[in-house]
């Protein structure tokens, strides 16, 4: 896998998810097959056909000082918590400010801020709007705050591609390092969209599970009885670094960030392209970019959101381009779907799987859809083989954005 270009490695991981407030607690919950989905207790849930969601396990306002949290949208709170964990985990790298970058996006941005601020405006007038309303609602706010905190001046970016946002951010970060713009980049995705307007709007698309009497069984990718996705919230952020920079400072290296493949469906604004052409393109491109073959890929953390159409199209594309040998899992069965945060947390899970050589099982797959012929990890976690192996995280978003990111063991 040697290539005459800058090699990019992963040296730090951070998450806050419906399963835990950090990587260690989330990872052990994933391996234990726990669900982070719960019935919503708010009164507004009565107005909706969907009465459950996967809320963050740890309230961000209990972690952050109050003066800080009051000027941050909830998505920004998640992002800062995850970024701080990742930065600490990387050993707080000493890096020149103009060699440090940030790429952190959100699918929707500060939507709870927007809606709450509009209520304040209508009821009390513009004078009572927080002067932080705009920085709270803008989808690049998380990237901006992290850039300020770490003093990153090489470039601070926010990709926005719905549910592919987190993965696209990581791909963009890899390219920043490869192109020589930065030595270290903090990258990932965040989302805080559990609000009746969002649940209602996704329900209007008939995209969500309505298994209200069994919320923990609702996210069931590839099961014949799946009926839609479950909304989650949180953030996942990683520290990427040129191999040279990481080796020079003696950093612990989790994996190589080996490549990224993007494609656009150019088909429908919200429905998956039925033949999976775009997913196959992204898979071919990630292999080419990483200099890997399908045989090298031993694990796929799939996008698989538990929707009737999307799950099977993805499984077929994996089988066609990569093969039927990788251990495939859908951690959304436990975390729900974090939209723009999904690619962030699932990249962390993919890297952890490679590093610890174990793949968490997909829960709730009681009756596997017969159209799925790839090796879905069910029941118990499964071990990955020793030696040089690689893994892929898939993230696809409304708008027809397909992103596959490859990580390789060191």
């Amino acid at each position: 896998m040697s290539r005459d270009r800058v090699r990019v490695v992963v040296t730090g991981l951070g998450v806050t998810t419906p399963l835990g407030g950090d990587v260690a607690s989330t990872w052990s919950a994933l391996l234990a097959g726990q669900s982070g989905v719960h019935t919503l207790t708010e009164d507004w849930a009565d107005l909706l056909p969907v009465k459950f969601a996967a809320k963050a396990a740890v309230e961000p306002t209990e972690v952050l000082p109050r003066p800080e949290s009051r000027r941050l949208d909830r998505a920004e709170q998640f992002a800062l918590i995850a970024a701080r964990e990742a930065w600490q985990d990387a050993g707080t790298p000493k890096v020149a400010p103009d060699r440090l970058g940030v790429v952190v996006g959100s699918g929707i941005g500060g939507i709870t801020t927007i809606l709450a601020a509009y209520d304040v405006f209508k009821e009390k007038g513009w004078q009572r709007l927080s002067p932080y309303t705009v920085p709270m609602l803008m989808p690049n706010g998380s990237a901006g705050w992290i850039g300020i905190e770490l003093g990153a001046t090489a470039g601070v970016h926010a990709t926005v591609s719905a549910c592919a946002t987190g993965a696209e951010s990581i791909g963009y970060a890899m390219e920043m390092i490869r192109s020589g713009r930065a030595d270290v980049v903090v990258a990932g995705g965040t989302e805080a969209a559990i609000h009746p307007l969002n649940l209602g709007s996704f329900a209007a698309m008939r995209a969500m599970s309505t298994r209200n009497d069994e919320p923990q069984l609702a996210s069931r990718p590839w099961d014949v009885d799946r009926d839609g996705f479950v909304l989650g919230e949180g953030a996942g952020i990683i520290v990427l670094e040129s191999e040279e920079h990481a080796l020079a400072r003696g950093a612990r290296i989790y994996a190589e960030a080996a490549g990224v493949g993007y494609s656009g469906d150019a088909h429908h604004i919200a429905q998956p392209e039925p033949t999976g052409a775009g997913l196959r393109s992204a898979a071919r491109r990630v292999l080419a970019d990483a200099g890997l073959t399908g045989e090298d890929i031993r694990h796929v953390n799939a996008h698989a959101t538990s929707t009737p159409a999307g799950d099977v199209v993805e499984a077929v594309a994996i089988q066609e381009i990569i093969g039927d040998h990788p251990l495939v899992t859908a951690t959304k069965s436990m975390t729900g779907h974090l939209l723009g945060g999904a690619g962030g947390i699932e990249s962390v899970f993919t890297i952890k799987a490679l590093y610890d050589r174990v793949v968490p099982a997909t829960i709730n797959v009681d009756n596997l859809d017969p159209a799925v012929e790839v090796d879905i990890v069910r029941g118990e976690p499964r071990k990955l083989p020793d030696g040089q192996i690689a893994a892929i995280n898939n993230s696809f978003g409304f708008g027809g954005h397909n992103v596959s990111v490859a990580f390789a063991s060191i």
Binding site: P65, R66, P67, R70, R128, S130, P131
Partner: protein, 79 residues
Amino acid sequence: MAVTEQEILAGLGKIINEITGIPAAEVTPEKNFVDDLDIDSLSMVEIAVAAQDEFGVEIPDDQLKHLKTVKDVVNFIQN
């Protein structure tokens, strides 16, 4: 009955602590908002609006920019 300087100072300390996290005890008359307390202009707007609610005195934007120290604000509210 007019509020005393001490009451205004205490109320201001509470507001500034709530908004910025700076301990109320550090909010003393001679402190400059920018140089000593590191409070930015957005937070000053929040503080002014909160002070208006607390003391019933409106601080117009063209006045706010002249209030450089804690004592300036206390005097403005008192007068």
